[in-house]
């Protein structure tokens, strides 16, 4: 069993870090929230809508970006955003695409096929797609994994601003503890499918006798 008895919520304007060693169940949790993996028991609600019962409605106000889910490389940046904009039934789509191309510095790649973009540019495209429908819940699985430190910092700032301005809750997985401390309001430490620790990433390490979040992570992972 990948995850067992986990329960948590993500509030509006809140960025929650989902941390854990490889195989802890982070991606399984995200897959269940996205409705592509059915939990054997329990329920998942997005804006009070049960994903199992009203999958489409629940996912209308959700979106995601993950390093393992690149957009089709044989479509251009614009074509990808147009297709997914229609799938998410985005209002005023041309204007929304234009705004996102500008925000994620993708304007000069507008008519370039996604497959020939660098990994960092592809990540920015995935994030632009993830924000197309101005989701109330944004799921980000290692969103800055392939970005250089300067771009990663800009992206973190953009996501933070997005969460604040659009009343969006964000569930964020990362192995970069510096990033997690910088951006997350709360972290959940997951290991062997269970949530072992939960709290503010800035105070949680000291509460458990550690100096840094990384030390705490390593201690939990090796337990």
């Amino acid at each position: 069993m990948a995850v067992d008895g986990i329960s948590f919520e993500v509030a509006r304007n809140e960025i929650v870090g989902l941390l854990g060693p490889n195989g802890a169940g982070k991606t399984t949790t995200i897959n269940m929230i996205l409705g592509i993996l059915e939990p054997t028991s329990g329920s998942i609600r997005i804006e009070s809508i049960d994903v199992a019962k009203q999958r489409s409605k629940a996912l209308e106000c959700t979106n995601f970006a993950a390093v393992y889910a690149p957009l089709p490389g044989n479509l251009t940046v614009y074509q990808n955003l147009r297709v997914f904009g229609l799938i998410y039934a985005v209002d005023h789509l041309p204007g929304r695409i234009h705004g996102l191309l500008k925000e994620f510095e993708l304007e000069r790649f507008r008519d370039v096929k996604a497959g020939v973009l660098s990994s960092g540019e592809q990540t920015r495209l995935c994030l632009a797609k993830a924000m197309l429908n101005e989701p109330h819940l944004l799921l980000l699985d290692e969103p800055t994994a392939s970005l250089d430190p300067a771009t990663a910092q800009d992206i973190r700032a953009k996501i933070r601003e997005f969460a604040n301005q659009r009343q969006c809750g964000v569930l964020w997985t990362s192995h970069n503890m510096y990033e997690v401390e910088d951006v997350c309001d709360r972290v959940l430490l997951l290991a062997r499918g269970k949530i072992l620790l939960e709290g503010d990433p800035k105070t949680l390490p000291r509460q458990h006798g550690m100096d840094t979040l990384e030390e705490l992570f390593i201690a939990v992972a090796r337990e």
């Binding site: 991606t27 996912l59 889910a69 229609l86």
Partner: protein, 267 residues
């Protein structure tokens, strides 16, 4: 059902086709080759045959109708395979797109692509080889409808097989029309076949089409009851294929197959 979501699937396919000559060419190249090849074969048969029998509407008409069915089936499967090849399953199935919207998009994509092939075949068959579809009368509409529905059904079934058994299973799908053709009686009357094969023919909607094509060419009339049976069977097959696709999709969500699709596990 949201129209914009179905439109998105069609638009995605149109973007792919319009941006790639490798996708444009197969829309008409193979059917054009078939028309030319069978056109000359029928001309030759007409020349060497002493009978007053015209092979053009029998063979060339049959090839045209069979190619139309094949293009419809492959149109659905190709549109689905584009998501497999571009590893787009997570983005598609983790979106608000419903299965009915997705399958409708695949069907509409197939209509768009198979129409190109049909027009090319009609132009070649009528202008170069003198095939007249007026000979089939109004029954032609039912012939095309039955073959279209059966093509859609097999296309959706093929997509379900690939979804269930992984990307490598696409090689089960492409030869399906060739496997079905001996039982469909495309080139010969069903009565030519052994009895056990004839029982299978009764379950295949195209067999009703080709039996009636031959009946019309022989100077008779189309059998309305037979064509109603063929149409009903084709509609049943579409419903059955959709049910199987939904069943496979639910199984994939329950077992996590979509999330780890590239692993090709068949748990």
């Amino acid at each position: 059902m949201t129209a914009s979501r179905t439109t998105a699937i069609v638009l995605r396919h149109l973007y792919l086709v319009s941006g790639s000559p490798a996708r444009v060419l197969p829309l008409f190249a193979w059917v054009a080759i078939d028309m030319v090849l069978w056109g000359f074969i029928t001309k030759y048969l007409n020349a060497v045959s002493s009978a007053a029998f015209d092979f053009v509407p029998v063979f060339l008409g049959a090839v045209l109708l069979w190619d139309f069915f094949t293009r419809v089936m492959h149109g659905v499967t190709m549109a689905f395979m584009e998501d497999v090849w571009s590893r787009n399953f997570l983005n598609i199935f983790a979106s608000p797109l419903s299965i009915s919207e997705y399958v409708s998009g695949l069907v509409l994509s197939s209509i768009a692509t198979s129409s190109v092939g049909l027009v090319v075949m009609l132009v070649l068959a009528t202008t170069i080889f003198g095939l007249s579809f007026l000979a089939y009368g109004l029954a032609l509409i039912l012939f095309l409808l039955v073959l279209f529905l059966f093509g859609i059904a097999l296309g959706i079934l093929g997509a379900a097989v690939v979804l269930r058994f992984g990307p490598a299973s696409e090689w089960f799908i492409w030869p399906v029309p060739a496997l079905v053709s001996p039982f469909a009686g495309v080139f010969y009357p069903i009565s030519t076949l052994p009895h056990w094969m004839q029982y299978i023919c009764l379950l295949l909607p195209p067999s009703y089409v080709f039996e009636n094509v031959r009946a019309i060419v022989a100077g008779g009339a189309a059998s309305v009851p037979e064509l109603i049976v063929g149409t009903s069977l084709a509609i049943f097959d579409v419903v059955l294929a959709c049910w199987i696709f939904v069943h496979v999709y639910r199984h994939s969500v329950r077992t996590g197959l979509i999330a780890r699709y590239s692993a090709e596990s068949v748990s």
